[in-house]
């Protein structure tokens, strides 16, 4: 099994934590790093963060479950955040969400059987001028049409197969 974090990552955080007067300020950074490497933050991930920063697991857990971009459950390789806020809604956001569900055969909140895509509704992505928009992982896609969506999905499938 692959390690939750590489030793050099753990060392870097431990060093930073020792240097700052308030190690807790690193929690979100650390959770993001654990997630980047593992795709999500497992119970073991929460425990590891607690160990590195010298705080209790519950103090980590109440943050990990508060932030919606920290996943406490496994997600697909490509978490698809579909904006359902007002500007995207006003320019066809609902169609985008529907199309994705139809094309991928899963509902919002679910992951495709091949483990590639998880559909997650999200609030505004700060791309209101390019509505409707989605974010896949940390990549932003705006001015979407259903045809454009199909192309993106196809591309990512190819990328995953490579």
């Amino acid at each position: 099994m692959k390690k939750l974090l590489l030793k050099k990552q753990i060392d870097a955080f431990s060093k930073k934590a020792a240097k700052t007067a308030h190690p807790r300020e690193l929690v979100v950074d650390l959770l993001r790093e654990i997630q980047d490497r593992n795709g999500w933050v497992s119970d073991e991930g929460v425990e590891l963060a607690a160990q590195i920063l010298g705080v209790t697991t519950i103090e980590i857990e109440e943050l990990a479950t508060f932030y919606d971009k920290i996943y406490r459950q496994p997600v697909g390789r490509y978490p698809v955040h579909i904006c359902d806020s007002i500007c995207c809604w006003s320019r066809g956001g609902e169609e985008i969400a529907l199309h994705l569900q139809q094309q991928l055969g899963v509902k919002l909140g679910e992951t495709t059987p091949d483990g590639l895509f998880t559909l997650l509704p999200t609030c505004c992505l700060g791309g209101c001028g390019r509505a409707p928009s989605i974010m896949i992982g940390r990549r932003f896609y705006g001015n979407l049409s259903t045809a454009e969506l199909d192309r993106i999905i196809e591309q990512l499938r190819e990328e995953a197969n490579r």
Partner: protein
């Protein structure tokens, strides 16, 4: 197209980012050099005060006044925190600014910290702004290398270190005290005020929280002068320029830097290219999801804090979302309320329980299953939530509801009488 004076978007080329070399070529960091040599911190605070700059994060409080409350002489660490959470639907201006020209914010942070005598700065950046975070990482590293950050900056004896904090979602972190909890690695519920952050903020120390655009304006004010900045506005009481983020049913949904006080009609016609699909203007949110609607009767209003408050709305963040005449305002309001209900931090009852109830009522009426009693209950809920929540999130959620009930009550009644959505 825009002949309006460009300060914040002076260097902006869409799709590109200006870094150190080009920023300096266009005059970057010269204001900082000049100020550190020839200006006392209190002079800058005074200048910002007379410039009339009002906070660009939504509340519109006078920046100079806020700074003048800051205990600059308090010994020990003091913080300047920049709020780049920017998660209110319709608001994307700070993201555009940092995508184009991140050094403006860095120079602004150093100048502002010098003015209020803060020795540590944080920039809090929302999750979705990954590119902006990376731009800032590069800009901060470049500024450090040039000697603009760190110890004894430019031989002034002033020290300032600047940290970046990437967030992981949730709108409530934009509320300044929730943001401070978030920075500290605590559960980001808002804090009780008072004590205000200026007295007890980050890690219990004096802290000023300002918006990205607010801080990016500082170098321009210091360089051009308070009077010049004030004169940039179209209306008498206004000051400066403003980043307007256009969205919704317009032909061009882009972000423009325009004078404060520009009339809504001009913004929509000249810059937004008019309402899309040759349709008519019905309503807009003038400054983000929490600002009550404006209608066609408000088209000639000057977009600024006071004029908008006078008609029962707010300038907010100047993220203008337009709705055409085919829009169901009840459905739009439901969408907005669903946003606030989902983003509630859950701390207090009026918000945690009240907003879902409002959503339930709106949805019921929208589906054509509403009764007159439901409308009464909606009004009752509005009254019970307003003024009773722990922070301003629920107050903001009442903005669009107030707009709906005040300006479009007939539309709500139509839903009830027809037993279906009339649109």
């Amino acid at each position: 197209m825009s002949s309006a004076p460009q300060l914040l978007f002076k260097n902006r080329i869409p799709g590109q980012t200006v870094f150190f070399k080009d920023y300096c070529k266009s005059g970057g960091y010269q204001t900082l050099e000049k100020a550190f040599k020839s200006m006392a911190p209190t002079e800058i605070v005074e200048m910002v005060k007379t410039s009339g700059l009002r906070g660009r994060g939504g509340a519109g409080f006078s920046t100079g006044l806020k700074w003048s409350f800051f205990p600059a002489d308090d010994p020990g660490p003091k913080y300047l925190v920049c709020n780049c959470d920017e998660m209110e639907p319709g608001t994307y201006k700070d993201g555009e600014l940092l995508a184009a020209d991140p050094h403006q914010l860095v120079e602004g942070m150093i100048l502002s910290a010098y003015a209020i005598n803060a020795d540590v700065g944080y920039i809090f950046i929302r999750y979705a702004y990954d590119q902006q975070l990376r731009n800032l990482q590069q800009a901060v590293a470049e500024a450090k290398k040039a000697g603009y950050l760190g110890k004894n900056i430019l031989g002034s004896g002033f020290d300032f270190e600047l940290h970046l904090h990437g967030s992981a979602g949730r709108y409530i972190l934009g509320e300044e005290t929730a943001l401070l909890n978030g920075l500290e690695g605590k559960r980001p519920n808002p804090r009780l005020k008072p004590p205000f952050p200026a007295v007890r903020g980050l890690f219990g120390r004096p802290t000023t929280v300002n918006n990205v655009e607010t801080i990016a304006n500082i170098p321009h004010i210091v360089s051009g002068g308070a009077e010049w900045f004030k004169s940039l506005a179209r209306n008498l009481e206004g000051a400066g320029t403003k980043l307007f983020g256009l969205s919704g049913h317009l032909n061009h949904t882009e972000c423009f830097e325009l004078p404060v006080g520009i009339p809504l009609r001009e913004l929509i016609e000249t810059y937004g290219g008019g309402v899309w699909k040759k349709r008519k203007f019905k309503a807009c949110l003038p400054g983000g999801a929490s600002t009550p609607y404006l209608t066609a009767e408000h088209l000639d209003i000057a977009l600024d804090f006071d004029p908008l408050e006078a008609v029962g709305s707010r300038f907010g963040t100047a993220g203008v979302t337009v709705f055409d005449d085919h829009s169901c305002m009840l459905r739009a309001t439901l969408n907005l309320l669903q946003f606030f209900a989902r983003e509630s931090c859950g701390w207090c009852t009026p918000c945690r329980d009240g907003l879902p109830l409002v959503c339930w009522l709106l949805e019921k009426i929208e589906k054509g299953e509403g009764t007159k009693e439901d409308l009464q209950m909606l009004k009752q809920q509005q009254q019970q939530i307003t003024g009773r929540s722990f922070c301003a999130l629920a107050e903001g959620a009442m903005g669009p509801l107030d707009g709906l009930l005040r300006l479009f009550e007939q539309e709500v009644i139509d839903h009830i009488q027809k037993g279906q959505c009339p649109f």
